[in-house]
């Protein structure tokens, strides 16, 4: 009897091990959470798993930005994030330092007219590690009914606490704030980076930031500014445009976006170096960067696809949003919305980001 039990247990344990060994390889994607990750899940993750040709499980985890954890994982050899959704400066720094895999550029899906991926984009690919994701922007917004009389509609109004009273919600890092402060101070968008390259320009930006200093509430996660504006803690806030748009489109939230002064940023997907799921992750990246999926994400959130062919699909198929509304009026990188805005310069931030951030932290503290 004892022998029988023992053999049964051994068999059971062995069976469990065999089962575990056959487990389907899972691709883990680290992204920013909230409505954004939800849109990625729907546009990329679900379509990946459902596709009969590729298949595979995709698992989304949240992180708050920064390459600290990626670097730890790569240096220790214990990779848990196969793919990371990174900001432009990190896409450059990480590739330079060897934190991301360099991908073969010819495996990616071509546009319907045959253009290879690297030529089908609105910007030049900075290196071989990145796969295009979206365009997004920092933009100001407020809740309908907060202000009576004239409504704010320029970035200068965001910095004008006397005309539009109440607190301001801004993010706890310096990107886009310097540009917005200068634009609010009257610098035309085309000259902003030239002004920023001099110390006087930076001083000017911080002087403008000083005008709202006592009215500032900081946020660090994407959903927080919406919360602050809804609860009335702040009267205007800066946020990722997609979060605001998703709330307006999906939930009919009473938000009003201010397109003037928006700062457009790239977003890239990269693969962590040394990951065990290289093949599956590469298949996922090929899938996610195909024009159809790029357009597909705009069904759920109003971020612009980075590929021209993706944008073309959008324009041709309005109304595109999943609940039947038009998406083009909410796209950040249309000519109309870009009139008072600018494209961020990640190379400038790669160089000067550290010292500006330290100065910003000092400004925060005082």
């Amino acid at each position: 009897m004892k022998n029988f039990i023992r053999t049964m247990m051994v068999t059971a344990i062995m069976a469990i091990f065999c089962f575990v060994g056959q487990a389907v390889a899972e691709v883990t994607v680290a992204s920013w959470g909230g409505a954004y990750t939800m849109s990625q899940q729907k546009a990329y993750g679900d379509t990946f798993s459902d596709s009969p040709l590729i298949g595979g499980k995709v698992n989304f985890v949240n992180y708050n930005g920064g390459l600290g954890e990626v670097r730890t994982q790569v240096e220790s050899g214990n990779i848990t994030w196969d793919i990371v959704d990174v900001l432009p400066s990190q896409a450059r720094t990480g590739c330079d330092e060897g934190l991301f895999e360099e991908l073969p550029r010819d495996v990616f899906a071509k546009a319907p007219d045959g253009t290879p991926m690297d030529e089908d984009m609105f910007v030049k690919v900075p290196n071989d590690c990145v796969v295009p994701q979206i365009w997004w922007s920092y933009m100001a917004f407020y809740k309908k009914g907060t202000f009576s009389g004239t409504q704010p509609n320029t970035i200068g109004d965001f910095f004008n606490v006397s005309k539009f009273p109440g607190k301001r919600g801004i993010h706890t890092w310096a990107n886009a704030l310097i540009e917005m402060a200068l634009m609010a101070d009257g610098v035309p968008p085309a000259n902003v980076y030239k002004v920023m390259s001099s110390k006087a320009g930076i001083d000017r930006a911080f002087a403008k930031l000083d005008t709202i200093k006592d009215h500032v509430v900081f946020w660090s996660s994407g959903a927080k500014p919406l919360e602050l504006v809804t609860s009335g803690e702040v009267s205007m806030a800066l946020a990722y445009n997609g979060r605001v748009g998703a709330a307006i489109l999906s939930e009919d939230a009473p938000f009003v976006p201010i397109w003037d002064g928006q700062v457009l940023e790239e977003e890239w997907l990269v693969m962590t170096k040394g990951t065990n799921n290289y093949d599956e992750a590469l298949r996922f990246l090929i899938h996610a960067s195909a024009p159809a999926q790029q357009a597909g994400q705009a069904k759920w959130i109003n971020y612009g696809p980075m590929r021209r062919s993706g944008m073309a699909i959008l324009e041709a198929n309005e109304p595109f949003f999943h609940n039947g509304k038009n998406i083009m009026p909410h796209m950040p990188n249309t000519d109309e919305h870009m009139k008072g805005g600018l494209y961020a310069n990640p190379d400038w931030w790669a160089d000067n980001g550290d010292s500006i951030s330290e100065r910003f932290k000092a400004w925060q503290g005082k």
């Binding site: 920064g66 600290g68 900081f218 170096k273 040394g274 160089d351």
Partner: protein
């Protein structure tokens, strides 16, 4: 005349004939060994999973060797420079070699003062398309010896000998490729796959074939790219602009065919003409630096290696240190003031009520930290519960709502509530052990209740108070979550800056330096506490 005192004429013996002294010593040693044996597992656990990894990370606070790997020739030649005028051709020459060639990874004497600038190995040019064997042997003839390649071969063999599933073998091979590169370079994330491939079938007899050298060149060239990227990030902390300068130069220096390099490098980027960039190199020369510790206190080295303050607008750390100390102090005092009466109540009430109250103390303790913080946000924010109550009841006008969230006040309030159980429990357990008869005896002897309390009761509770104070203070000083969520502008503490440098700016040297300073500060405070109150006077119950 017999004496009454017993004089031992021979040593005392135990029942089995062994001298008592020896027997005693043996049993004491056995006890000691048993005690060590019991303590050893947790000690080893602590050492291997806590002290060693954290110690390793903290060594990054002084470790600056990465740049010395990247620019060995430059740092040797720069010693001759006068530091004030623009460097001459020799230094530009050295810089261009360090940036564009991989000779430093092949030559033996490639660090610190060992570097010989006149060694012809530095100037050997390895043609991009080959042949590779001759130039590499000219740089360092050791590469023609089998012994030099044996350690690499061993790594490859270990990977090939691994028994496991196909997938596992693939992963082990991948790791081995990283290991080969980390043997040859200071990088842990470069893959030397070509070397792995050629050494797979190696017979360990000779390395005369061109293919070994081709693999060596290819792998080291790609690893060199990452070395440049990593070290330029570090250089950028010292002087913003280095990152793009190095990147641009590495791309373009290969195009320079012949010396002189000076003018050619000016043409590549005008920053090479700026003497301040060269001066910043002087600060980075030493493999071990105290620069990070200086940065942690708003200071830095200037080109003469004097300690100067950072520019005014970048000074933030000293202010944060003071604020952290102040906030921890306020939180500790606040906790003490609230916890003492509570603990006294808990200790003196009959069991039925005190159990109930104890649940009130412990229940928040068991609730998730984030839930508690968010609950406070709801209570304290501008349109939150407290403000709304005050406005509705007419005490405050609508415009004068109290700002209690996302600032210093909010941080203090939330931290006091979070750290209260740490203060209540030690004091409570000490108070529980004080017999009530002491107070009655004191009052019997004529003392007023307040005098009895001060002279008799309070001194007995001091060990518990001490334990609670030290616990709360140490936790508060390193706290990071609460200031991050509710601190706003004036509630952020030094812990938030450590997190920022670990996650966002990747300046792990500075983060490690700040962590070390925190650790030393705690140890000093612990020592002071020991001198004043005495560690033996600390009781947790």
């Amino acid at each position: 005349m017999t004496s009454n005192s017993y004089v031992a004429s021979q040593p005392l013996l135990t029942a089995d004939g062994i001298p008592l002294k020896v027997s005693l010593q043996r049993s004491m040693r056995r006890n000691k060994l048993r005690a060590i044996g019991l303590v050893l597992p947790p000690l080893l656990f602590l050492l291997s999973l806590f002290i060693i990894p954290i110690g390793n990370l903290l060594t990054r606070s002084v470790d600056d060797k990465l740049i010395n790997f990247q620019l060995p020739l430059t740092f040797r030649v720069i010693e001759k420079w006068d530091r004030h005028t623009l460097p001459d051709e020799e230094l530009f020459d050295a810089m261009s070699f360090d940036l564009s060639t991989i000779n430093k990874l092949l030559i033996t004497k490639n660090s610190g003062t060992q570097v010989d600038p006149d060694d012809p190995g530095w100037r050997v040019k390895i043609p991009k398309k080959g042949p590779y064997k001759e130039p590499i042997l000219k740089i360092n003839p050791n590469w023609g010896e089998v012994e030099t390649w044996l350690p690499l071969s061993r790594i490859v063999q270990n990977a090939l000998d691994y028994q496991g599933s196909k997938k596992e073998k693939r992963l082990v091979e991948k790791r081995a490729k990283f290991d080969i590169c980390s043997y040859l370079t200071p990088l842990k994330n470069a893959a030397c796959s070509q070397i792995f491939k050629v050494l797979k079938g190696w017979d360990q007899q000779s390395v005369s074939d061109e293919k070994y050298f081709k693999a060596l060149y290819k792998d080291l060239s790609s690893a060199h790219k990452f070395l440049a990227g990593k070290s330029s990030t570090r250089m950028n902390y010292e002087k913003p602009g280095w990152k793009s300068l190095i990147k641009k130069s590495v791309r373009n220096i290969k195009k320079i065919k012949n010396p002189p390099y000076r003018e050619a490098m000016f043409k590549i980027d005008e920053r090479w003409d700026d003497v301040t960039f060269w001066q910043s190199l002087l600060v980075m020369k030493d493999p071990y630096t105290s620069g990070y510790f200086l940065n942690a206190f708003d200071r830095k080295f200037d080109e003469g290696m004097n300690i100067v303050m950072q520019p005014e607008e970048r000074q933030v750390y000293v202010m944060l240190w003071w604020r952290t100390l102040l906030l921890s102090f306020i939180v500790t005092i606040g906790c003490l003031v609230l916890a003492y009466p509570t603990a006294h109540l808990l200790a003196t009430l009959p069991l039925k009520y005190s159990n109930l109250l104890m649940i009130c103390v412990l229940m928040p303790f068991w609730t998730s930290l984030l839930v508690r913080i968010v609950a406070w946000m709801v209570m304290l924010q501008q349109e939150g519960v407290i403000n709304d109550a005050l406005v509705i009841s007419g005490i405050l006008a609508d415009e004068n709502r109290l700002p209690m969230m996302y600032n210093f006040t909010g941080t203090v309030i939330v931290m006091i509530q979070i750290l209260l159980p740490f203060m209540i429990l030690p004091i409570y357990s000490v108070m529980k052990g004080i017999p009530p008869s002491y107070m009655r005896a004191a009052q019997n002897l004529g003392a007023k209740p307040s005098l009895a309390f001060l002279k008799v009761y309070m001194p007995q509770t001091l060990p518990g108070v001490g334990a609670g104070v030290i616990l709360v203070f140490i936790v508060a000083i390193g706290y990071y979550i609460t200031p991050e969520l509710v601190g706003g502008k004036d509630g952020t503490l030094i812990g938030n800056m450590v997190a920022y440098h670990m996650q966002q700016s990747l300046n792990w040297g500075l983060a490690a330096a700040m962590g070390t300073v925190l650790l030393v500060a705690i140890l000093i405070l612990y020592w002071v506490y020991d001198k004043i109150v005495g560690i033996d006077n600390m009781k947790l119950g």
